[in-house]
């Protein structure tokens, strides 16, 4: 029997107090996610249950019980507190998926500070703008990512502490650097956890928009209520499950459902910190008896590419429930998983700003392959007319996805940018920026973004950020960046550039520019293709018209070009 029971019954009789009661929380109480994910589980008698099976490069393995993660997070919290980190200070986690990342996440929350997780593949410029915006006081990182921090530390007066979790004495510590070794630190069995309340800030994830710099999405400790219940009802985690969320905690899925959800339920999870290969993933599922698997369409399509024969070489019979997030899951992928795993991947839809799953296919519900599913109980969601922002009264019309604000994990604002936050609301609806239709059975069908943001492999990339970085390359005079269709990643970044005098448009320069962006921003932001242009299409006022280039890539009608200055 699935945790959710009967969906329609849940819709009829829903209240978020269901989660509050299960978590023994009442309005006004202390609520600290770090405590809920470790101390509370130990108090429930599960201190010796494995919280984390971890495997890294070269077959390196570790495991931690719930008591281990309780003590380790206390220890990290105490270390930070001794450095002078206090409540609401921002502490960036800039690490690969090593145990210290997961344990630091809880440790930072336990002292009431705000966790700012950043994807470890970010280049120095991506790191710089996010740390500067958040006025981050400390960053916890690894030796291999230290060079990127060093490049920008002098530009960041707020960054007082650079904490290295695997320091090895080979190089002397530099300005603001301090070593911390979890293995050598004195374990803190007893620790005074900061008494955060429901609206105390917890996590600051950065997300990309069409224009301007990335925005810091501010979440609070009360988000736990949504994250706990959606984990229980959508991911259907049960006592004996071994759960694998393949997302990196540099992104919101990796924290909401790769840390908070499973651990607040006291569920064992497994983490694989190696690069992708289909064989390695199947071997991991077999080795750790994974029963619930939360992954992404890009990964699923990569597994499809690796072929069905490979699947047969592994015993994957422990898999009980599969779910997917990040971008729309195409019908072919759903049908493929039914064929090879004997169960479908169930798609779910949400975003950094929503903090928890909003629309999904529930266990036991009829799946319409290619559909996003239905709203989570307690969520009022619909599709509104993009001009009037009124909900459509007829099914099947394409408009904007819209939610009534008020669920516990809803972002509270964008960091230092209330104005941008307010712009996300129209006529009382929160608009995530995606287009869809709603059928007569209440299923949502994804159409695409309503802006120029590129969704590549489930990660949002701002065309503005890439265009700005391109202009810093010595050869580039002008740039325009759009999404290009891609079989595996749904979309990839494509750049159009004009060159400065003296530079030749050739393959060698294209590769140089690609690598320039990869190192400066991230591999995700690297254009997978660069097209040289003599001029870029512009409006009469001189604004580059991305939509012309986008339409060209997608084989769409170009539309009104009456304001166009120059066409190709």
């Amino acid at each position: 029997m699935a945790n959710i029971g009967a969906y329609n019954e849940r819709i009829r009789a829903f209240d978020w107090s269901i989660a509050e009661k299960e978590l023994d929380y009442s309005d006004g109480n202390i609520i600290n996610i770090g405590w809920y994910c470790s101390d509370r589980i130990c108090l429930q008698g599960k201190r010796d249950r494995v919280a984390l099976f971890w495997e890294g490069f070269g077959g390196n393995e570790k495991q931690f019980t719930f008591n281990d993660i309780r003590v380790a997070s206390n220890t990290i919290g105490a270390f930070l507190r001794n450095l002078g980190i206090k409540e609401e200070d921002r502490v960036c986690l800039f690490m690969e998926r090593i145990p210290e990342l997961y344990l630091s996440f809880l440790g930072v929350l336990k002292i009431g500070a705000i966790v700012q997780p950043l994807f470890s593949a970010f280049g120095d410029e991506s790191l710089h703008v996010r740390l500067e915006n958040a006025q981050t006081r400390a960053i916890i990182t690894q030796r291999k990512h230290l060079s990127k921090v060093k490049k920008i530390v002098d530009l960041l007066p707020s960054l007082e502490h650079i904490i290295i979790v695997d320091y090895d004495d080979r190089k002397p510590l530099q300005k603001n650097e301090v070593a911390f070794s979890l293995e050598d630190a004195e374990p803190m069995d007893q620790f005074e956890i900061f008494p955060t309340k429901s609206e105390s800030p917890s996590v600051l994830h950065y997300t990309s928009g069409t224009t301007g710099q990335p925005k810091g999405v501010k979440h609070v400790h009360y988000s736990l209520i949504s994250q706990y219940l959606t984990t229980k009802w959508v991911l259907d985690l049960q006592e004996d499950d071994i759960y694998w969320c393949t997302a990196d905690p540099g992104w919101v899925t990796g924290t909401s459902y790769g840390i908070i959800g499973p651990w607040s339920m006291g569920i064992t999870q497994a983490v694989l910190n190696t690069g992708f290969s289909a064989e390695a993933w199947y071997r991991f599922i077999e080795k750790y008896n994974i029963s619930v698997w939360y992954s992404a369409p890009t990964a699923i399509r990569s597994l499809m590419k690796a072929g069905n024969e490979l699947v047969k070489r592994f015993d994957l019979s422990t898999l009980r429930h599969l779910a997917s997030v990040g971008e729309p899951l195409n019908a072919e992928a759903v049908l493929w998983s039914e064929k090879v795993f004997n169960k479908p991947f169930l798609d779910s839809y949400w975003q950094t700003e929503t903090g928890s799953i909003m629309i999904t296919n529930f266990p036991g519900m009829k799946v319409k392959p290619g559909s996003m599913g239905k709203v989570f109980p307690g969520i009022t969601g619909t599709v509104v007319d993009p001009k009037t922002f009124e909900p459509f009264t007829e099914p099947g019309k394409v408009g904007l996805i819209a939610f009534k604000p008020g669920w516990p994990a809803m972002m509270r604002t964008y960091w230092n940018n209330d104005e941008m936050f307010r712009k996300k609301f129209k006529k009382g609806w929160y608009l995530p920026g995606d287009r869809a239709s709603l059928d007569s059975d209440g299923y949502f069908w994804f159409i695409g973004r309503d802006d120029d943001v590129i969704n590549t492999g489930g990660h949002l990339v701002s065309p503005f950020e890439v265009e700005s970085a391109l202009l810093e390359h010595e050869a580039v005079s002008e740039s325009a960046v759009v999404a290009k269709p891609d079989d595996v990643n749904m979309e990839v970044v494509k750049a159009f550039v004009t060159l400065k005098p003296g530079f030749e448009p050739n393959n060698e320069l294209e590769l140089k520019i690609m690598n320039f962006i990869r190192k400066k921003l991230s591999p995700l932001a690297m254009p997978q293709e660069i097209e040289y242009m003599d001029t870029l299409p512009k409006t009469r006022s001189g604004k580059i018209m991305r939509r012309i280039l986008h339409a060209k890539e997608w084989g769409e009608e170009i539309g009104d070009t009456s304001t166009l200055e120059e066409d190709e």
């Binding site: 490069f57 070269g58 690969e96 593949a121 030796r143 291999k144 990512h145 230290l146 060079s147 910190n273 190696t274 690069g275 992708f276 290969s277 289909a278 064989e279 390695a280 990569s302 590419k305 690796a306 590549t456 492999g457 079989d487 393959n507 060698e508 294209e510 590769l511 690609m514 690598n515 990869r518 591999p523 995700l524 690297m526 997978q528």
Partner: protein, 81 residues
Amino acid sequence: MEEIKDVVLSYVIEEYLEEDDEEIAYDTPLISGGIVDSFSMVSLKRFLENKYSISIPDDRATPEAFDSVNKIVTLIREFTG
């Protein structure tokens, strides 16, 4: 062929290794070892195509085929004849 091995190894070291990464050899796992991610693989593929004047079809540019310098050399040989 020794030369191709060294060219590819040098390029990987120059472009993809972080400052404090361990040294790598011809058979070090690149993709599954987290040195080159799936997005960066595109730039590595582009380098090989430019350098050896070949075209590697997308269905052959798999994480497995790019997972070490040795495997990449095998792939290049196939397309250079």
